[in-house]
Symmetry: C2
Subunit: 258 residues, 2 copies
Amino acid sequence: MATMSRKPGICVSRMIPELANLPEPILAELNALGQMRKLAAGQLLADAGDAFDTIGFVTDGILRMQKTLPDGRQHVVGLLVSGDMFGRVFDGPMQFTLEAATDCTLLNFRRGPFEALLTRCPELDRIILLQFLSEIDRSRDWMIVLSNPRVRGRLAGFLLMLCTRFHKVEHLFGTMNGRLTIRVPISRADVSQLLGARAESISRAFHALADDGILDIIRPDLVAVLNMEDLAAEAGEPELIDAISDEILTPAQGKALH
Amino acid sequence: MATMSRKPGICVSRMIPELANLPEPILAELNALGQMRKLAAGQLLADAGDAFDTIGFVTDGILRMQKTLPDGRQHVVGLLVSGDMFGRVFDGPMQFTLEAATDCTLLNFRRGPFEALLTRCPELDRIILLQFLSEIDRSRDWMIVLSNPRVRGRLAGFLLMLCTRFHKVEHLFGTMNGRLTIRVPISRADVSQLLGARAESISRAFHALADDGILDIIRPDLVAVLNMEDLAAEAGEPELIDAISDEILTPAQGKALH
DNA sequence: TCAACGCATTGATTTTGAGCAATGAAGAGT
DNA sequence: ACTCTTCATTGCTCAAAATCAATGCGTTGA
């Protein structure tokens, strides 16, 4: 157990590809500062309002970011997957609750030393800045999906988002019997909170898409896309078809889902 | 006219308070680099996909950020008000279209020199980083508003957002006959695109809130809040009441709207 | 083995909002 | 004055989704 706490094998650049191009001494410092942590599905990482003295990266699994309203409703405002950063740099308390949506592995840094390193290393600072920029873009993409007036359309947009934005995550999608298959990483209740609908409506929307031959619901958390064009049309974003054929329907992917 | 192009009176720190604490030489450089520009309502600033070689700040008026979908729908994904930054730093083309929602005044920098300055000045870099952070928070707040399943609730959330996030903007709200009055800075059509509804539904939602004694619609773009608690309850965010009583219902504000 | 539980689904009913069309109301240009 | 335009509003119909209620279904735990 003593060897565990000495975190013998940490290799930041391997776990977070975005950091790989940093100068060697900085990587060494990051390796020394980083702490691995595992989280079981459902576990709470940080609560809104916490000081939460940690900057971290998701290396495996999915974190759910949400706001718990006083009336008990929970609003999911984003999913963090492998490579995504969380925590607040040079800034106040957490605005949102972080919870493990699946079993997770995290790479954590204590905030103080990380900020100090950030101040000393412009390259790292630049990477963080770009992370933030892409996070902003992602939020705006969510907004577009959420602006779709129909639940079916929002669900279609959500599924496409899983394909385009989160497709790098292992097992999030793959092929099964030669069909493009998406792993829905969160429960119907979570999807409904994310998409601004009731869980029943989400369920009906899933099955409506299935009835129209667009999806095949293999399991509640596993759907095969039978007709990508129609799915994109439902989402009202035909342009996404290009992105999908470019990024996804390439021979590169083919791992089986379990 | 020659004097116009020499931009004689630019004082960045006065126009963007966030920049005021920068070291004197940096401010001088910013003053030298900055270009003022005025935009009439409805004018296009940048289109999605543009290289758009500009980093800028809004100093007056409101910019609308939106995406035009291939099917013609337009989705507003955010409003930029005084103090907000736009443009892409160290990054690719614009993801969204920028259009003046009202007459605007902008403070523009050419991207190259601005990035160079950013690289040389960690203090400026820090400020930009924090701007991005607050932009992320704002996007997530939008997501929560958009997650409200009912149009009335989304509209209520939007109005509260105008109070809390945009209340610093001059004339956005104030008092009129002793009542808290909100200036709705964009058209019904824009609101509907932002909130994922039809303009007709937005209009009906406004009048439904008025019929329930929550709002008084003075003009289409000017509403008085008669019952803040109920408005917050409609939005499903009772916690906002605290923020509002703290931030707004203080003796500080009292300017009249025109 | 059998409850108990969480989650997804289905059914029935009511409300909401989209969709389409028409009417006002204010402003710009002639 | 008048037209033309743009925007907000209203009326109407019908589809979509919320809401309430109940059922299946797999897992956990006694």
